[in-house]
Every structure is written in C-alpha cells, then in structure tokens.
Symmetry: C2
C-alpha cells in the first residue's frame, strides 16, 4: 500500500494503518462487535532488524522490512480475547489466536467511563451513599482500580471502585473526600457484584454507620487556594537565537554524536531504538517494561490494592498532551502519535513527547594553577520527556543524553496521593494522615527499565564490580590498599545491589586501548529497598521482577514485559515473566543479552506530598566505563561568554565587574 | 572603628580588617617575622549569636555583636605556631596561644611556590632527573602533597613532592608525564631530605634505571586537541528580562520565602548562616567541614598519599574566580571576598561564589483526567556555586534551594586524575592505565557536611526511620503490609545507612498539624561504601569520620572540623575529632545538636576520566518531611507560556502547533 511504502519498520502506526488493521479484523468477523484493546506495530524480529538498521546507518539498506501490526481485542460483551497479526503491506490477516481464558486485556478509557457511570447508577451503591449523608454541593466520583488478586481462583475480569466526593470546580481535589465504600464490578456485565465497607479506624474494624464529616479542604488547583499566589517570581526564558543543535528526519534524531530513533507504543510509551554514539553501537532498544505500585495497608480490600501501571493501564495511552512553556521550557520539538480507541479508530496523542536542549551546569573544568589557564565546557543535555497521568499520579519519564556519551533515565513522581478514609483521631502505622479524615497509605513504585544492549556489537556480557579492601598483609602493609573484584554473569539470573557495586555491560571481544579491558557501559543506580511485600503474597508472586534490582537474560523477541504480557488479574505460571526467563539459566556470556533494572521508590507519604506532590526524582545513569579511550566530551568547544550571553545582576557593590568585553572569559589569567 | 560599625557579626573580614589584624600582631612581635596561615572572622558564640539573629529577623536587634578575628601564624622559618584572637572593635589582641608542637598549620600558596622552586633546584633531584633523560622540550614541574603520616613519630613538618614533565603551552597536561621519583622536603629548612624511587611495575619492585619513554600525549586544553572541535552546538541563552527574583542586602539573601546569609572562610569556603523558610527556622549553619582523599595504592610511598582538602589546603583559599558564561550561565550575581596571604596582606578572591536562578523542570503537576484541568508549576531553583582547584582536581560545590523548601547540596568532581608512572605492559589491580606509562590509582573522596540545625527552634533530635515489612500473621494475613520504625538517637553517636533508611532532624516539641508527628527535615542521600582503608591504618586513624555516613553530636562552638582543627600530619588523640566528640555520649535528644554527614565518592578511574574528567555529581537533599502541613510550593504561580516565552522548533510535520496565542496553555482541555 502506498501509505507505508516509505515508512520505517520501527515507526509507530499512523492513523491510516490503524484503521486498516481494525477494518480488516472487523471484516473477518462480520457477525461480531470487536472491542479493541491495543493495535500496535510488530517490530521485525531482531535477527532481521539488526542487519537492516546497521545497513541503514551505513547507507547500504535495501527496501524497508515489511510493516506488521498486532491487535488485541475482545468480542464485545464477552470474555473471549483474541490476538491477531496483520501484514500491512499485503493487507492480510496472518494469524488470529484465541487466548486462554485466564488472560485478560488491559483497561481502556472507553470501558472505564462506562464502568464508572454504571457504578454510580447502581441502586445498592446509591443506597449506601444516601446513608453516608453527603452535603448537596458535593458530587460523587468513581475511580476504578485493577482488581488485583487474592486467591488462586480464576475470577471473571473484575474491577475495584474507590469513591470520592468533589465540588463542581474542574480542578476540585476529590481525593480530599475519600468515601468508605468500595464497589466491585464485573467488567463484562458492568454490574456491581459486591460493595465492600472500607476499614476506617486504626485497625481492620468496620464502621457501617459512618456519615460524612466535614473538614477544611486541601486543594491543589490555583483557583481554589486560600493563600495568595507568590508575586516575586520573575520570568526566566531559554533562548536559542541560532536554533537547536539537533536534526530530525521522521523519527530519526541526531544530536552531538548521538543517533537514535523514537518509538511510541500504547503500552510502553516512549521507546528508544538503535542508539549509537559517534557511530558506535550502544543500545538496540530502551524501554519502560513495567511498573508495579503495591500498597502497604494490610487490611482487606486494600490488601489487593496494586496496579501494573504499564501492563494494566499503559504508559503510551495515558501520555499527556504536553504544553509549551508549562511542561517544556525553551525551544521545543514535539512528537505526536496515534493510538486506537476501543472501536479500533485512531485517536490522536498530540505532543506526547517533547525534545529540547538544556544547560546542565559545568561539563568539565580544569584550571592550571601555575599558569592560570582555564579550560571549561558547559554541559549541554538533550531532554526527551513524556508525562503520563495514571489516575491520581503523574509520572514524568525522561531521557537525558549528555555530551560525554552518558544516558540518564530520569523518573519523577508527582500528582496526588492515593487516599483512604480514616476516622477522626485514628492513625495507622502504614500510612500518614494528610488531612482530617484523609489517610495516604505507604506504597512502592517499582519500575522495570528494559535495556537491550549492543555495546560495540551484539555479543555482550554483564559483570558485577565491587570495590574491596585488601587484607592488611605483606602486600598491603599499611592497610590502605583496595582493588576491584569482578564477577562475570555467565547464566541468566537476578542480581543484587551493594553500596558502590557497579553492573557493567561489556563486549568481551573489544578491548579498550587505554585500559586493556573489555569496552563497557556501567549502570549507576543507588541501592534501594526492593519489594516489601512477602514473596508468598499475591503482590510478591505477580511482581517477581520487583525483588531484585538487576536481571540478565538471553534475548528473545517475545520477552518485553517483566511481569508478563497479561498482568490484569494475572496468575503467574512461573514461566512467562522475568523470573521464569531468568530461571532458564540461559548462557548470557558473549551473546545477545537483555539487562533489566528494577528501580524502586518506597513512598511513605508526608504531609508535604499533599494535596499535590512536589516531584520526587530518581535517576539511573548508563555511562561509558572504559568504552572510550579518553573523555568523549574533549572536543566540545570551550565555553565563552560570547556564545552564552550571560548577564551580571546590576549590583556592583560586591562584584568585580566582568563586562561583555571579556568575551574570551576563560583565557589565561595572571600567574599564581 | 568606623570601618566595622555597620558590619554584621557574620560578615567575612574585609581588606581593612585583615590588615588591622596582621598589623596588630606584627606590632606585638616586632622582633619576629610572622608567617600567616589564616586570618578569619571569629563567629560570636552561638549562645549570643542565636538571640541576635532572631532579633534581627524580627527587626528588634540591638547593636551588632562585636567583630573578632583569629589568626594562625608561625614565627617565620620556625615551627613555632601561634593562635591569636583579636578584637577588631577595640583594636586589641585578646589572646595569643603557642600551640603544641605536634600541631601543624595548613599549606599556603606562598610557601608551596617556595618549596616547589627549591625542590627543582636541589642538586640531588637534578642528578636523578638527568639520569631519567627527559627530552629537551619538556620541563619538570613539582606538585606538592601533604606528607600524610606513616608512624607514631612526631616528624617535622614535611611535604611530599610528585614530579611531572610538561610542554611550554600554558594548558599542557603535566599529569600525562609522571616521573618516577618523589622528593620529600622539610618545610622549615626548605631542604630535600629524601628522594623516594616510586614503584612503576605491577608490584612494589623498584626500577632505578628507568629512562623517559615517549608516548602519544593526551591533552585536555582546547588548543592542544588533535581532533577538531564540534561545530554543531548552537548557543543557549538564559534570559531574565524583568530581572532576578532574589534580593541582596550585603550578605543577606532573600528568595522565594528563603532567607539566609552567606559566609566565606579561608578553610570552609562558602558557608550558609541562619537559613529560614517562610519565617521558620531551619538551619543555623551549613558548611563543608572536611574532605579526605585517600588513595588505594598499597605501595610505599603511595601508602601515605592522602590529603585533607579542607584541613590541609582550604576550600576558601582555592576558590576559583568564576567567569560569566563559563562557570555560570544566566543572570548572575557574584560575591567576592578577601583572604590573607602569608604576609598578612589582603588578597582578593573575586567572584568566589556565584548565585543565579535556573529552571529545573516540572515542580508539580496534576491533570484531572475527568475534566481535563491541568495544574502545573515549573520548578525554579536558586543556585549558589563555588569551585575550588586543589592541585589536579576541581570540585564544584553548590547549594540548590527549591520552591518546595528543599535544600540540595550538590558536589561535582572534575579536573584531572592524580597519576603515577607505570612501566609499559604493566597493570595494577588498584589503578587504571589511562595512557601509556600513566596509571590513575583508585581513591576515595569523603566529604563531611556539617549541619547545625534549628528546626523550628534550637532543641532538636535525630530519628532513624526504616521501612519494615510486617510479619505475615493475623494482622497482615495477605503479606502485603509494611510500616516504618523509628529509632530516636538520644546520645551522640555515629549512624549507619541502609537502603531507604532516612535520617530525620526533628523538633520533638512542635507537632505537625496534619500528621500529628514532630516537625522534621529529612536527609536524603544514597547509601555508599565508606572509607575502605583499614581502621588501624593511618588513613583510618586520621579520618575516623569517614567510616560512618552520619554522626550526631551535642553542639559546641569549637567543634567545626570533623577530622580536627589541625589535620596536617595529624596524630589523632581520640578526643579532638568527630569520633572523640561522639564518644562523649552527650545527650542529643531535644537539645542543641549538630548532624554530620560523610558523603563518600569511591573513584576507580576509567579511561573516560582522562585527560580531564566529565563532572561526577552527587546530591544530598535536606527536605521537609512533615515540617509543613501541606505542599509548601502550592502558592507558586501556575506556569504559563506567556511568562516562559518558549518556542516551537520550526518543523510542523510531526507537531500539533501550539502558537503564542495559547498563552493560557494549561487551561482546561476537552473532557475525556
């Protein structure tokens, strides 16, 4: 088909292709109404893709690999779930597979709106609400939550509802009024099958006679603040008078020796493909594989409260429409995508990723104190940003690429705490009271960053490096010596952290000219507490990946999601998740491997996190560690006042003036 | 005296005062030549200072407390060291104390230049160098290092020299040519007392017949690069058309509800005093107390290689003259200071601290996905920066103050690796070869951040908080519950880290209205490996503070420096350093305490760190943790495109245009 003839095999599906796929599948089942969950590009198998990408980089590529798509859909109103594969080029359905009934599809917004509406029309729910005696100015809203799991039984696809009350303002904080009942719904019949009374005291005791008690609201929206807004913040503008330093060709980006492609999927959101630096291969694919948010309140039904934000909800479908000057400051490039709705129609995801440059302080500096010669560069960073809203929470996901060949995955958590009702005067040891009647339970966020490396080629290994004090003996008579010890990870396995332990991805066949050791990229990430839930709990069984910070597996095309393909009410089989793949004990030395990093944020709320939470930031860095023979940012031009156009604050009392005439501000100064 | 009548008791000494102090002391010893080490302000005792600062904040202060200064000096050419106290107001010497001969003064640049010159004129040194057969275009330079310590003996004040060769260019990297001899000098006589042959093989064997072997140089200076400079980096300018958001009154700064004073001392460099937020007291004094850099090469004389960069050298005296557009980008306020030289004369330290605002991404955000209402603020940060050059290394020290009442101490290490000669083909397990003949040994940097808190007043305590899984029992039948456990630190002691363990400074008498718990600031810092040297090694004995990441002591005015007042060739007595103070087991609950944080950077060099090292960054955050009832940045104005003036990259192919008309870019969007 003409529409695809020039498209890259990794480019996300466009609107036309999405419609083509859903139309084909609808035509194949004319007697059924299809409820689409996901329609997405099928990336070519790595065995074909890697040579294609290499040839493309060398300018010797043949015709693009064929574009194919997959679709996950229900027969509407049933639990019959299908996975289809479509060849877009030939406009044909290659395969349709009916999935095992234990597997459930993701949530989707069309479905959730129907469920929310049905919940709040249910007579039994209305009856309970009436007994709670809400004041008239408040309306009830329903937040849906994945049901989680609390038994071995294969339950129908359920959803758990938490109810809140809000005022009519569009920015009203409904989390400030959590209600003490929680309906459970069947997602097929859209019926309320149970209404659970939530515990609201200091223990699991239930109070069936609770009525609404008013309290001073805590609102996050600017219109609703009682205190005045600060007036002393002056504008700060980032200006690039000669334009940006990157080039864009479709989804192919080049900037400061970096070259990579964007991808964007319903489930993972932003994906980076085929990342090279100065023509050398680094990473085949970088993606957010999963994210699990378990809550630490031990009481039923909170014991089920947990969500796979990637697998149950999706990081692409929830991507924000980023706004110039608000989400992104400076000179901004936006990328927009399309995803499917439940009808299989294309829906715009405008400005789902933004890209821009920032100044990140000093890159490197040295002053020769004998001669006064100053050498200095500023550090310019390329920022790729996407923000998702998952119910109450916002997550900012960023890649920062620097000029010294470092990639930094930056996660920021913001938004609103998930809240629960609590009686006046009560406290619990697993949560923090953030307003009268409002408790924010402790919880964790465990992200899984999937790193598919190609450090100077496909055959890589992982080593674990520790710094170890030498024993105080003849070879270390003064007791000051220390060395590094390396462990080669020869079989697929989880790996643990230790203070200063560094995990490095190496290419054992390529030696660094300076150090004589295999070229390597190191993963720098602070040591964190991993999943606190018991390994035999359902949280523990369903999110095995969250117990260890690092995992190494042998690459397989189908293994993209750390908690498995189907996380909704998942019943793990011990084979279809990261632990299962690691348990194969595949060879992982000098071969095509994948490294998975579980990034854990233990979030015990504090009052300052409410009613909206200042960004909490975590950074994982992938940095060259013996990959280059010397500092790769050595060729960045010396910083000069001329190019940076900085200004002095006009207060000369304490300042030695450096005027604009000092354009060559870093020239040698007087000798010491 | 008129010159001081309006000065604040915490303001650094000015040139006139410095001259006054040295003149007074010179006049007192007319028959002696004085060699000044340090002349610095004596801060008033805390018992007097705190009420004064409080009254000043309330506008009820009486006359300033008297300004006093201390001076540390030798009788020139002797080892007689004196500490004097001078009352500037009354122009009188209050006290002169001759110090115990075991104590030595810091290095100073006047002295080091003399020693370097004398070393390179020494006939025995010249003889050894002649045997090494350096090519004619290279000149020898001498880097002095504190001698360290290797026995219980009270040696004279020694200095260790490491020699290098360099070309004539002012930016020539002499660390690329480390020479295999190391003279030791007596600092009084300025004589070379020993010339140590450095081990250059894979073990401690010495090669007395080594001659210079040429290799391809690695240079960091832009003039000396063989590869071309990048040409595709476009200017990025930070512009504040309406000026900055801070106000300056002498050394008193106000910005976004913050109020604090700058200090600057010869030894500590930048100091923050009397830090409040929104009128509430947070920190009485924040300073870099010490910094120890021990090397991990076990061989003599490298076993002595170590330096207290604060105590032996000084973080104020080595502060760089920061340059507009190079060290600092944007609209910049500089602060300049004076220090003394060895003659007691004032020496300018121009632009030793810079202050400016940056945009730091998103402050907080929430999208109400029902109504589409977006609430978002950008995060503006106030940056205070000072950069020091200590021989080969540069350190960037920054405080980042944010709008959510967080303070972030940011340390960046850059500059050049300390190098050692190594034979062709040899490798060592305690270092990395970074060029032919050039080995960079493993080492650590352990900083000590001294935190003198006043969280809502003087009487504070420290608690250690851990997140702990509940046992799987009747109160936690599903195995998902977890709680926090707190330990109150009631007596002075070191404290250790654990993953996610948080140390909080609390005021037990002030309860948070929301949580009901004592108001608190938390110290967030990743868990790191502490000092690797053996506790019985001299490194271990001299830098006890470096074995534990946190320490709590009862406040005493005289206890400012974690490794003691006199670190040069120090012989610890078990009482005059942080361990000694902690060992007193003073009450630290609900009283005036000091918290010390040892920040450890284990640096095992990689080829990318050479010939100049991209900044390696560490951040320690002091964040409100139940100090406020709600998000303290709630009143920051909503971000708008109008105030931020961002631009779109002019490529509309993939972009949904957001023009300047969308000034209110975060207004409610269409309903989901």
């Amino acid at each position: 088909m003409a529409s695809t003839s020039l498209k890259h095999p990794l480019d996300p599906l466009n609107a036309e292709e999405l419609t083509q796929v859903s139309s084909l599948l609808k035509a194949k089942s004319p007697d059924k109404s299809l409820h689409f969950k996901i329609i997405t590009i099928i990336e070519p198998p790595k065995a074909k893709l890697r040579p294609f990408l290499k040839a493309e980089r060398n300018g010797t590529a043949g015709p693009p690999l064929p574009r194919r798509a997959s679709a996950l859909y229900y027969h509407r109103g049933t639990s019959d779930l299908f996975l289809a594969e479509v060849n877009i080029e030939s406009n044909s359905v290659d395969k349709v597979e009916k999935l095992d009934p234990q597997f459930h599809g993701q949530n989707d917004i069309d479905e959730l709106i129907e469920l929310r509406d049905a919940c709040l029309k249910d007579p039994k729910v209305l009856e309970q609400l009436a007994k709670y005696k809400l004041p008239e100015h408040l309306e009830v809203v329903c937040d849906t939550w994945p049901y989680g799991r609390d038994s071995e039984d294969n339950l129908p696809r359920y959803i758990q509802c938490y109810l809140f009350a809000r005022s009519s303002h569009p920015g009203s904080n409904h989390y400030d009024n959590p209600l003490p009942i929680s309906p459970v719904m069947d997602m097929i019949t859209k019926e309320v099958i149970d209404i659970i009374r939530l515990p609201t005291g200091s223990d699991a005791t239930l109070n069936h006679d609770a009525v609404f008690e008013t309290h001073a609201p805590k609102e996050y929206h600017h219109d609703l603040q009682s205190q005045p807004t600060r007036t002393d913040l002056k504008p700060l503008i980032v200006h690039q008078p000669e334009g940006v330093s990157f080039t864009i060709d479709g989804y192919l980006i080049k900037w400061q020796k970096w070259r990579f492609r964007f991808g964007f999927t319903w489930r993972e959101g932003m994906v980076l493909h085929d990342v090279t630096y100065d023509g050398r291969e680094l990473f085949h694919r970088l993606s957010l594989s999963e994210m699990f948010v378990p809550y630490g309140d031990p009481r039923y039904p909170y014991s089920r409260k947990s969500v796979f934000d990637v697998g149950d909800i999706g990081a692409g479908v929830t991507a924000n429409n980023l706004a110039l000057g608000c989400d992104c400051l400076g000179v901004i490039k936006y990328f927009s995508f399309v995803i499917s709705n439940s009808q299989g129609q294309p829906v715009q995801k405008p400005n789902a990723i933004c890209m821009h440059e920032i100044d990140d302080g000093i890159g490197w500096k040295h002053t020769n104190s004998r001669t006064g010669a100053v050498s200095i560069i500023r550090s310019r960073v390329l920022v790729l940003q996407t923000i998702i809203t998952v119910g109450n929470y916002e997550y900012v996901f960023m890649w920062h690429l620097d000029q010294a060949a470092g990639l930094h995955y930056r996660i920021q958590a913001t938004g609103i705490l998930s809240t629960a009702p609590i009686d006046k005067g009560a406290t619990v040891p697993w949560g923090t009271n953030v307003n009268e009647g409002v408790m924010a339970p402790f919880h964790q966020h465990v992200f899984s960053l999937r790193i598919d490396p190609c450090i100077d080629g496909d055959k890589n290994s992982v080593i674990e490096e520790d710094s170890v004090a030498m024993p105080m003996d003849d070879s270390n008579p003064f007791g000051v010596g220390y060395v590094t010890k390396n462990r080669l990870i020869s079989k697929s396995t989880p790996l643990d952290s230790a203070p200063n332990r560094v995990h490095k991805i190496i290419n054992p066949s390529v030696l660094n000219k300076s150090s004589g050791k295999p070229v390597a990229y190191a993963i720098h990430s602070p040591m964190k507490q991993m999943l606190l839930a018991h390994p035999n709990s359902w949280h523990g069984k369903r999110a095995r990946y969250a117990f260890h910070p690092f995992w190494v597996t042998a690459h397989r095309d189908t293994e993209l999601y750390a908690a498995g393909d189907y996380t909704y009410q998942s019943l793990p089989d011990g084979k279809s998740d990261l632990e299962g793949w690691a348990d194969r004990r595949d060879k992982t030395d000098d071969t095509d491997i994948v490294v998975w990093h579980s990034i854990s944020l233990t979030h015990n709320p504090k009052p300052e996190d409410y009613p909206v939470m200042p960004c909490d930031t975590m950074v994982v860095s992938l940095k060259p560690s013996g990959f280059f023979d010397q500092n790769p940012a050595l060729d960045v031009p010396q910083s000069t006042q001329k190019s940076n156009g900085s200004k002095l604050v006009e207060d000369t009392a304490l300042t030695i003036a450096v005027g604009e005439k000092d354009a060559d501000c870093c020239a040698p100064k007087s000798k010491l």
